[in-house]
């Protein structure tokens, strides 16, 4: 018995739960709950009105069903929409005030907040269940004028910025899950980089779902003002539970003239067990707007977790000469399903986009790349290059590529190519012959296959991601 449990733990090392008292709103999705969330966060009136508008809009929307991975219907009334560690209800002033158990959790996750303060040059905002619990490195950032705080804090302290930009990329009238998020989002990160500032360190958020029957709805808003630069990292984990949990976040990026945002995600939510029981439904809306001239937004994602991943980090290239990039690795094993890709919408002149997507499918998993490249009639000299490669391990999994390409401009140049194949037997044989066992060999080859994307990750993440690639494929061969 104990052995079995240990085995289970080996599979998903973030599968622990932390015994922390939670403050929860009652189950259900209704006006009272939204009022409750808004009250407990002491939000101003305009925010509540904004939420209500989204909620009203939600009533007329239908849950989309065109995606490839189908899932049993979610009962939205049977979810908790607010869950916060109790100690956070009067928010800790410094890290020393944090609940020690919380700190312990983050240590297990590999983000020792205190050490981070001194050692790594990374500022961390940690979001536990739905509430931001700690933000490190504040002083150094404030010095430069960078605002890096939780969303709730931003609503209180920087209402003008929030009012101006929140919902400007993902409007509350967007699709079902985005609108749901707009109505009930509880927290998230807020970043503002002032004009001509190069953010001195990597900013990072760690998301963790701890409580059961909880949906996590966080909202991230990043604004890079003229001539600024920021690199932002996001990581996520959740405990192992038999039920499916919903995670519907919204991420909005805004890059003004000459600004650059680099957004990296290592997503490792609990993927469910070997038989496909449990796991997170990761239905996330991520969208960036290159508003200004010469702006650039770059998405990098390593998707190894979640029972179902369904997201399309997109770029709206409005400013002339703006650049959008998308680098993705999606690994699915066992019964995991992923339907992910990007949308590149070219509106401005001389806009450029690049899409590199690597899908790896093993076990009984299904992996879909779905993307849109849309060249508007005014986007003269727009350029797009797309490359999607898929790797299949075993004959019970699936790999699909569904690109939509629309070109309305005769000076634009659009290229798309994709390949699907299995792991080369000769490469495997070569590795085996050099003394690597089957599993190590597969991990090595897959890492090589993903190299183009892994290179895009900041150093600290790249190491973790490489390990993740190996772990995710464990048990898929032999």
């Amino acid at each position: 018995m104990r052995e079995k449990e240990l085995e289970k733990l080996k599979d998903y090392k973030y599968g622990f739960t932390t015994d922390i008292e939670n403050v929860r709103a009652p189950k259900g999705l209704n006006k009272e709950i939204i009022q409750f969330i808004s009250n407990i966060k002491k939000e101003p009136k305009w925010m509540l009105e904004w939420r209500m508008k989204a909620f009203n809009r939600l009533q007329s929307l239908k849950e989309p069903d065109w995606q490839k991975p189908k899932y049993p219907k979610i009962n939205y009334q049977d979810l908790y929409y607010y869950s916060a560690p109790k100690s956070a209800s009067d928010k800790p002033k410094s890290l020393d005030d944090l609940d020690p158990k919380l700190l312990e959790t983050y240590k297990k996750l590999g983000i020792p907040l205190q050490e981070q303060n001194r050692l790594n040059n990374i500022a961390v905002d940690a979001v536990f269940d739905s509430v931001s619990v700690a933000t490190t490195f504040k002083d150094k950032l404030t010095e430069k004028g960078v605002i890096f705080c939780s969303m709730s804090e931003a609503i209180q302290k920087h209402p003008n910025l929030v009012k101006k930009y929140l919902g400007s990329v993902i409007p509350i009238t967007d699709h079902y899950f985005a609108t749901l998020n707009s109505a009930v989002f509880t927290d998230g990160s807020f970043v503002y980089i002032p004009k001509n500032v190069r953010c001195p360190m990597e900013l990072s958020t760690y998301f963790r779902i701890n409580a059961s029957e909880t949906g996590q709805f966080e909202r991230t808003l990043i604004i890079a003002d003229e001539g600024s630069y920021v690199s932002y990292l996001e990581g996520c984990t959740a405990p192992m539970r038999d039920e499916n949990q919903l995670h519907a976040a919204n991420v909005e990026l805004i890059a003004l003239d000459n600004a650059e945002i680099k957004y990296s995600t290592v997503q490792n939510w609990y993927p469910g067990d070997k038989d496909g029981k449990g796991g997170i439904y990761n239905f996330v809306t991520k969208r960036g707007a290159c508003r200004g001239k010469n702006s650039k937004i770059s998405w990098t994602q390593v998707e190894t977790g979640s029972a179902i991943t369904w997201k399309y980090p997109s770029c709206i290239l409005q400013g002339d000469n703006s650049v959008g990039e998308f680098y993705s690795i999606a690994i699915t094993n066992n019964y995991q399903k992923a339907d992910t890709g990007t949308k590149m919408i070219h509106l401005g002149k001389n806009t450029k986009s690049k899409i590199i997507s690597k899908g790896i499918s093993a076990g009984k998993a299904d992996n879909t790349y779905r993307g849109l490249v849309d060249i508007n009639s005014k986007a003269n000299n727009a350029r797009n290059y797309t490359q999607c490669d898929s790797l299949l391990i075993g004959n019970k999994c699936g790999a699909h590529t569904i690109p939509y390409i629309k070109n309305k401009n005769f000076t634009a140049n659009v290229e798309h190519e994709a390949t699907t194949s299995k792991i080369n037997e000769e490469q495997l044989f070569y590795c085996n012959q050099r003394g690597l066992n089957q599993e190590e060999a597969v991990s090595l080859i897959v890492n090589g296959f993903c190299k183009e994307v892994l290179q895009q990750l900041p150093m600290e993440f790249a190491v973790e991601a490489q390990k993740l690639v190996g772990i995710s494929l464990e048990g898929s061969v032999g």
Partner: protein
């Protein structure tokens, strides 16, 4: 429009169906169609072509007149090579000649006496065809017989305003070890706009070979939807070439099932769209057997406010190991009002496969134009030469030399019309 069509259908069904059972099946088809309506962009298969809007814009009313008789004298529209022919006039069988073949080895019948086809699937235009088809062709090439000359099915229209809607079916069975080169040629002699809706079915048996060519000489106000369903069995080969350069709306929908081991399907095409035309090639290749092969190459040139679409899908079943799938779509857009959309799709459930696809769109290469101009060609001539070179690449895939030559001539003429 659907309401109006309903009245048309009721009087049509009374006249055409000799038996109650047939009338009933036709009505079932129509009812299912009426529920679905004309396809619109909410459907994934019609995402880039809103047929409902196109037909409402182009057609004030849809009429069928079964009594209409028009003067007609057939002349050979294809003079470049010797061929056998079957002629249909305004949707009905007219005459045939199999001068080059052993007539015992080719069996054919027209479909105007029935039978009826049960409603199947959700393709509303196919259901509409089942409800309305007037005539068609059922043809067998007997076991072991290799046709010496190509067979041309002429589809000639010379109608008046009260007859503008035609539905046709061609069903062809190429039996074991036999071979057929088939050309479906549609031409509209009058200026009355027509809507031609065809639904064809082909079966290629063991070691059989079917080469199918579509030539569309309809007018610039005509609408044409072609559904080709193809089943290929062991070691069978299906080859298809489409030159799409006429009709206001032309959609060629090919569903090819490579059912058994070692079967292969080749689908190539060239689109030359101009003057507000809207052309689409949609393919769906389903690899079921092992060691199957598919190859698609589609080249498009768009000019003067036209729109072209390529939707291609390669589906590989979990049993279809050793599949080889290739798909390439390239497009050149010549003016600022044209649009090219593509959706090259791979859906793969087997691991030991080799599948690639590519899709590009862009403008003519300025360096190449410059080079040709430096050699003394005018800019206009240089452009024409490059366009021709670009499209000829697709035509080169045709394996019948006579037909390839015919296509090259046709393309040349079309490009010369360019201004």
């Amino acid at each position: 429009m659907i309401e109006e069509l309903k009245n048309t259908f009721e009087s049509f069904n009374k006249k055409i169906s000799k038996k109650d059972t047939i009338a009933k099946i036709r009505s079932e088809n129509f009812e299912k169609f009426a529920q679905l309506g004309f396809p619109n962009r909410k459907l994934e298969d019609w995402k880039f072509s809103d047929f409902n809007r196109i037909i409402s814009n182009k057609f004030k009313s849809i009429n069928i007149n079964l009594e209409q008789k028009n003067e007609f004298k057939f002349n050979n529209y294809i003079k470049d090579f010797e061929h056998n022919k079957i002629v249909f006039l305004n949707g009905f069988y007219d005459n045939h000649s199999f001068n080059y073949e052993n007539e015992e080895k080719i069996i054919f019948d027209n479909l105007n006496k029935g039978p009826a086809y049960e409603p199947q699937g959700n393709n509303s235009l196919n259901l509409l065809n089942n409800a309305f088809f007037t005539d068609g062709l059922l043809l067998y090439v007997k076991k072991g017989y290799q046709c010496k000359k190509p067979l041309v099915i002429y589809n000639v229209f010379n109608t008046k305003n009260d007859n503008n809607f035609f539905n046709q079916k061609i069903i062809i069975n190429v039996e074991e070890n036999s071979k057929l080169d088939l050309i479906i040629y549609s031409i509209n002699l009058n200026s009355v706009p027509i809507f031609l809706n065809t639904s064809n079915f082909f079966l290629v048996e063991k070691y059989g070979l079917l080469k199918l060519f579509c030539i569309n000489d309809l007018n610039n106000n005509d609408l044409n939807y072609n559904l080709n369903q193809v089943n290929v069995t062991e070691n069978g080969i299906f080859e298809n070439f489409i030159l799409s350069c006429s009709s206001s709306f032309f959609k060629n929908d090919i569903q090819c099932i490579l059912k058994e081991n070692h079967s292969s399907g080749f689908i190539n095409g060239a689109i030359l769209a101009q003057d507000n035309q809207h052309h689409e090639i949609k393919t769906n290749i389903n690899h079921i057997g092992q060691n199957t092969k598919s190859y698609q190459k589609i080249k498009s040139v768009l000019n003067k406010n036209s729109k072209a679409i390529f939707q291609g899908k390669v589906h590989v079943d979990s049993n279809a190991q050793k599949t080889d799938g290739y798909q390439l779509s390239k497009a050149i857009i010549l003016d600022q009002d044209s649009e090219f959309d593509s959706k090259p799709e791979l859906e793969i459930y087997a691991d030991d496969v080799k599948c690639t696809h590519g899709s590009t769109s862009g403008s003519l290469d300025e360096d190449a134009i410059f080079y040709l101009m430096s050699r003394g060609l005018s800019r206009f001539k240089a452009k024409k030469l490059l366009i021709k070179g670009f499209l000829v690449d697709a035509i080169e895939t045709i394996t019948n030399d006579e037909i390839k030559k015919y296509y090259l001539n046709k393309l040349e003429n079309k490009i010369n019309e360019f201004s």
